[in-house]
Symmetry: C2
Subunit: 264 residues, 2 copies
């Protein structure tokens, strides 16, 4: 995903100088032919890079995955894994705006600190330092979890299932712990789906582009009011792309990983 | 679950001779104190034993799990595991009444034959004879599965996930293949929940007792019109209870397992 300025256009709705965001290659110039997945930028007064994140696909992902899929109610208990990532940090803040109690997990003490001090999570933990995720979740959620915003899968999902409350919801956004395994770990506690009447539902943000304008206005408002904070990790120059990409899988980035190809 | 005739009552709404169904012990006389889970029988003209099955809890389970949880649409592809059981055989028939295409799995050729000849399933297979469940499901559902009515879990669920269609629904009623294992098998294909935007939802029938009267009338109608067929496996005498119970785990029963304690 990238932010681009139109330099040449054969489409009457786009003229040179227009700012758009959407799918781009890792390249300095992009030929955009699919206008279904590109949007004009309505709030250029905010940092343009936000349109790769909080005002772009990750933002919309957090918004539809939390509101449309998980359907939160005020006062509910929310757990977010990979909570310092571009999506997770927003889910946590949307949960707080909605009057929920929210706990996040992340993979370093620095990230955990960020969740608690900068993003307003009620609590957070470093999953790499926890011996027993079930016990950790019982400590963080003595009343159990109503909503799990799932980014990681595997052992975390198994521990969460044991700690869900009746009629809990698992909004399945990603399963990043499993992507690079030769064989996925098995999830063993699915019986909880019955005993706790859990709804587990996957979604892909591209199905929800119709909600984009509503989301953009709402999120731009939160940003201007200071109700949402957003953190980026900026790598300079197109040549830094491979290192930045690989860094994601080692948890090196803090916040949304960006690569600056050109500045305005 | 049992059908009982009231012999003595301290409750003004129940008098000797009334017929009720609900939770009973394995016993000849039952003291009923919890009226939340007992219902009067409104259609004594139908076989009373039906109130332990097609007109009782298994029937309501099939009805709410299929209609309320899976939310079928005409023309959809439905797969039912443990399809010859008390619940499964009804789900298949409700799917046919709803204009769906339905395939069932069962654990013997005799049961498979019953599904195809007596219950009107479009197709059925003996899972014990299939080497590769993924290939079997691809053969039965070249277009994929919209609704999976889940009774078994484990390897079957993994194979089904690979064959679900976009926006498919898994109505999780039971996971019987896992109940007696020391450790549950892992389910490895949960990534399909994201890629196919699957909703997987567990339910327990006791949450849905409020729908019982509506269900009873509808199902009694189907039975009288011959639109629903129901098969029971009858063991005679209370002393046959342990053998009948254990037989369930070996798949010995065909249709709903009953034990006759007394006849009218």
């Amino acid at each position: 995903m990238g932010v681009s300025k139109v330099v040449e256009s054969g489409h009457q709705d786009y003229k040179p100088g227009d700012l758009v965001w959407g799918m781009t290659g890792c390249e300095e110039y992009t030929l955009i032919t699919d206008l279904q997945s590109h949007f004009k930028i309505n709030h250029p007064e905010l940092p343009l890079s936000y349109y790769t994140g909080v005002l772009g696909m990750p933002g919309l992902t957090a918004y539809v995955g939390f509101f449309d899929v998980a359907k939160p109610k005020k006062g509910e208990y929310v757990f977010v894994s990979a909570a310092s990532g571009a999506v997770g940090q927003l889910v946590g803040q949307l949960a707080k705006i909605s009057g929920c109690y929210v706990v996040g997990s992340a993979g370093s003490d620095e990230k955990v600190n960020l969740l608690k001090t900068k993003f307003g999570f009620d609590d957070a933990f470093n999953y790499k330092k926890e011996q027993d995720l079930d016990a950790t979740l019982k400590r963080c959620f003595p009343e159990g979890i109503d909503i799990y915003f799932e980014n990681v899968g595997g052992a975390m999902l198994d521990a969460v299932l044991l700690n869900m409350r009746l009629h809990g919801r698992v909004s399945v956004c990603g399963l990043i712990s499993q992507y690079n395994l030769e064989q996925s770990e098995g999830v063993r506690n699915l019986f909880c789906i019955i005993t706790k009447r859990i709804r587990m539902e996957g979604f892909i943000v591209t199905d929800h582009y119709g909600s984009y304008r509503k989301f953009e206005e709402e999120m731009a408002g939160y940003l201007k009011e200071g109700k949402i904070t957003y953190v980026e990790d900026v790598a300079e120059g197109i040549e830094s792309f491979p290192t930045a990409l690989i860094g994601l899988f080692y948890g090196r980035n803090i916040g949304k990983q960006l690569v600056v190809v050109a500045r305005e």
